[in-house]
Symmetry: C2
Subunit: 406 residues, 2 copies
C-alpha cells in the first residue's frame, strides 16, 4: 500500500505547473508529491529583464510557492539539488536525499558563454531574482560613483548588452525607459550614457519577420539604443569589451556587460549522467528520458524537435508550461494504471517581444503581425493568462499586469 | 561710479544666507554681488546623513540656488574655486577669475582623517549630495551582491561608523530604521547585519548631558546598534577595520566604513596663504580675516572662541547662519559708508540630535532637556525655521519637514 513518490525538481515554469496540475488531478491517497526548489518562491523568468533594468520591482515577478501549491497535497522542500542518481532512483540534495518512482526534471537554463575570454567572470546574466536585482543595483551604483571621482570614468555609463535575441532586445527596451530616470537621480547628462547592443548574427531578433525587426530597431534607436549587428564579442575584462565587426576590432569602455546571447540546459543534469546536447536532454515524444523511462524532462532542459522545420523548439516559457501540462496528465495516467500516455504536441500561440513599457512587436496565431500598443496589450494578456492558470483570479489580481493603458 | 564688487565663495549655510541677506539690504545700484558655487544647488548638510542612510531623498535636502537667490540682484557663477589671491583681491576659478572689493569665504569643511592608515582611501564621508547618495548606493549594492556569491561575505553586511559625535549618532539612528527595509528588499536575515559605532572618546556624544547620552545609547542599542566606546581606529583596508580598545586589538570585516569623527576647514583657504588652525581661520570679532580686512570668513572655515569656555565654537549650521547674517549687515554698512561694523555674538538656541525618524534628544534654551517626540518635533521646528528664513513660506512648504506626527 505504498503510495508512489513523484519528485519534481525546480519550481520554474515547468516544475511549478507540473505540481499545480498534479495536485488537481491526483487525490492525496494516489501519490506522494514532492517539489524541490532552491528558493521559497517561483519567479517569472520572462519578467526578470524588467527587474534588472529597474522598471519593475522583483516582488511583482516572484510568487510565493505556498501561495499556489497546496502543501497538504504537495510537500515543498526548499533545498538545492546536488546530483541525480537515476540508476538508484534517487536525488541528492544539499541537506538530504529523496527517492522517487517518477521524477520530473525542470531545472531550467544557465548561460552559455561559448568560451569567450573573460565573459563568464565579468558579465552579468539575467537568470534569477538575485542576479536581476544585482544588475539593477550595479548600474545604479556606477551612476552614483560617476560624480564622485576627480576623473569621471565613461566605463561607468556605458552599458553593453550581448545579444539581440528576445531577452537582449526586451532588456535594452526597458533600459531605454529607465536611463533618463537614473540620469535625473544622479545628475548625469543623458547624452553621456550609452546603451549598446552587440549581436553576432547578421540581424537583430534572428528568426523574426524582417518588418517587425526593422520596427523594433527603429523604435529602440529613437530612444538612444545603439546596435552593433554582425559583431562578435572577442573579450570582456573588468572595464572593457572588445568586439570584431567587418574585420575591425573595436573596444568599448564598460564595466557593465549583460550577457543575453546564449543559454544551455542546467549542467547538473548532464553531470548526473544524462546524455545531452548543450545541456539539453533529447527526450521521447512523451518527454521521457531516452535512457530512463521513469524520468520526465520539462522546460529548458528538454530538447525536442519541430518536425516541420527540423530544428529544436526554442526554450520558452510557453513551451515549458505546455510540457508541464502534458507531463502532469501523463503521470496521473501512469499512477492510475493507464499506460497509454500522450505525446507532447506544442501549440504555438505566437510570440510578443516588448520594447519597453509602451511598445512591442509580435506575431500571433497565423502570422498576424502586431506593433505598438496592440502588441503591448497582447503581451500583458499572455502574462495574465499564465497567472490565471497557475494561481487563479486571486494571483492574477495580485501579480497581474492590469494597466493596459499605461 | 564703479559699484563695489562683493564676491561670496560657497553656497552652504554661510554663503547662501549672506547672499540672501545682502540682496534684501542692498539695492541694485549699491554693489555687484556674485555668488560662486560648484553645484547649481545649495544643500542642508545637517540632513545629508538621512540621504546617506536612504531614509530621505536627496532632492528634499537640496535647494536650487535660483529658487532663493534673485539673479537680477546677485550673479550666480557655477564654478569651482581653485585659489584665492588676497594680495591681488582676486579669486581664481576653474573657468575664470573674479576681482573683489569685499570677499566672503564660506567654503565649508572637509574630513580630517588624522593620518589613520587607509582611512582616507577606504572610508566614506558624509559631506555632499554626491557622497551621501554614493553611501546609500554602496550599502544597497553590497546587500544586492550578498546572495549572489557562493560564499557570502559578512564584510558586505557590517557597517562601521567612525565617531559617535553628532553626525555619527544621527547616521546610525537612520541606519537602524533603514536596515530592516533593506533586509526585506534583498532577502537577508536582519540578524546577519551589524551596525557598529566606534568612538575614541570615553563616551558617545562628548559634551552632551550624560542623562541624554544614556537615553540615546539605550534607544539605539534597542534597535540593534553596537557601540565600541573608547576604541581607537588603527587601520582601514578595503575589507576590514582594525581598532584598539583596552589595549586589545580587534578586527571587523567590513567594506563600508563611514567616517564621521573629524572635520577641518576647507584646505583651499589655507593653501591660499591664510593662517589656519586645522583649516579654520582665526578671525577678528567682526569675522574679518586678521590678515586681510576686506575678507570675511563665515561658517566652518572661521575659527572663533567662546569666551566663557575658552574653547572654539563648534562648526555648526546654527553658527554659520548667524555669522552670515552678521556679515551681510556689516558689508551693507561698509558699502553705505558706515565703518562702525558690529562684532559677531552667537546666540545659541540649543542643540537637538535625531536618533532616527521617531526619536531624538536635545538641550534647548536654558539647559532644558528634551527626549523622544518633543525633541523630534523641536528638531523639525529648527529645520523649518531655517527654510522660512532662507526662502520664505514657499520654500518651507516645498522642502519643510511638516509631518510632526510621523
Amino acid at each position: 500500500m505504498n503510495n508512489p513518490n513523484i519528485v519534481i525538481l525546480g519550481a520554474g515554469y515547468g516544475g511549478i505547473m507540473t505540481a499545480v496540475k498534479l495536485q488537481k488531478s491526483l487525490g492525496p491517497n494516489d501519490a506522494n508529491i514532492t517539489l524541490v526548489n532552491k528558493h521559497s518562491y517561483h519567479y517569472q523568468t520572462t519578467w526578470l529583464h524588467e527587474n534588472a533594468a529597474g522598471t519593475l520591482h522583483h516582488d511583482r515577478t516572484r510568487i510565493n510557492i505556498k501561495d499556489v501549491v497546496n502543501t497538504s497535497q504537495v510537500n515543498f522542500v526548499q533545498d538545492t539539488v546536488t546530483s541525480i542518481l537515476p540508476e538508484e532512483k534517487k536525488v541528492v540534495l544539499e541537506n538530504g536525499e529523496l527517492s522517487y518512482d517518477y521524477l520530473v526534471i525542470g531545472l531550467g537554463f544557465e548561460a552559455a558563454t561559448f568560451g569567450i575570454p573573460g565573459l563568464k567572470e565579468n558579465a552579468f546574466t539575467i537568470n534569477s531574482i538575485n542576479s536581476a536585482r544585482l544588475i539593477r543595483q550595479h548600474i545604479e551604483y556606477n551612476f552614483a560613483k560617476y560624480n564622485n571621482e576627480a576623473n569621471p570614468k565613461e566605463e561607468r555609463l556605458n552599458i553593453v548588452v550581448g545579444g539581440a535575441g528576445f531577452t537582449g532586445i526586451e532588456f535594452v527596451g526597458e533600459l531605454a525607459n529607465r536611463i533618463p530616470e537614473l540620469c535625473k537621480e544622479y545628475d548625469i547628462p543623458r547624452e553621456k550614457v550609452r546603451i549598446i547592443n552587440v549581436e553576432a548574427a547578421p540581424t537583430a531578433l534572428p528568426g523574426f519577420d524582417p518588418e517587425l525587426v526593422e520596427y523594433a530597431m527603429n523604435s529602440l534607436e529613437a530612444r538612444g539604443v545603439e546596435f552593433k549587428i554582425g559583431a562578435m564579442i572577442k573579450e570582456v575584462t573588468e572595464n572593457k569589451l572588445v568586439f570584431e565587426k567587418d574585420e575591425q576590432r573595436e573596444e568599448i569602455a564598460t564595466n557593465t556587460v549583460v550577457w543575453a546571447a546564449g543559454v544551455r540546459g542546467n549542467s547538473l543534469v548532464e553531470e548526473s549522467g544524462f546524455e545531452a546536447n548543450r545541456g539539453r536532454i533529447p527526450v521521447e515524444a512523451d518527454l521521457r528520458s531516452k535512457q530512463y523511462s521513469d524520468v520526465f524532462i520539462v522546460g529548458d532542459c528538454a530538447l525536442i524537435f519541430n518536425e516541420e522545420t527540423e530544428r529544436p523548439y526554442p526554450p520558452t516559457a510557453q513551451i515549458a508550461i505546455q510540457m508541464a501540462e502534458n507531463t502532469a496528465e501523463n503521470i496521473a495516467k501512469l499512477i492510475k494504471g493507464d499506460d497509454h500516455i500522450e505525446p507532447f504536441k506544442p501549440d504555438l500561440k505566437g510570440t510578443v517581444a516588448s520594447l519597453g513599457h509602451n511598445d512591442a512587436i509580435g506575431v500571433v496565431f497565423d502570422d498576424k503581425k502586431l506593433f505598438g500598443w496592440s502588441a503591448t496589450a497582447m503581451k500583458k494578456v499572455i502574462d495574465n493568462r499564465y497567472l490565471l492558470k497557475l494561481g487563479g483570479p486571486s494571483l492574477l489580481l495580485k501579480k497581474g499586469k492590469l494597466n493596459f493603458f499605461k
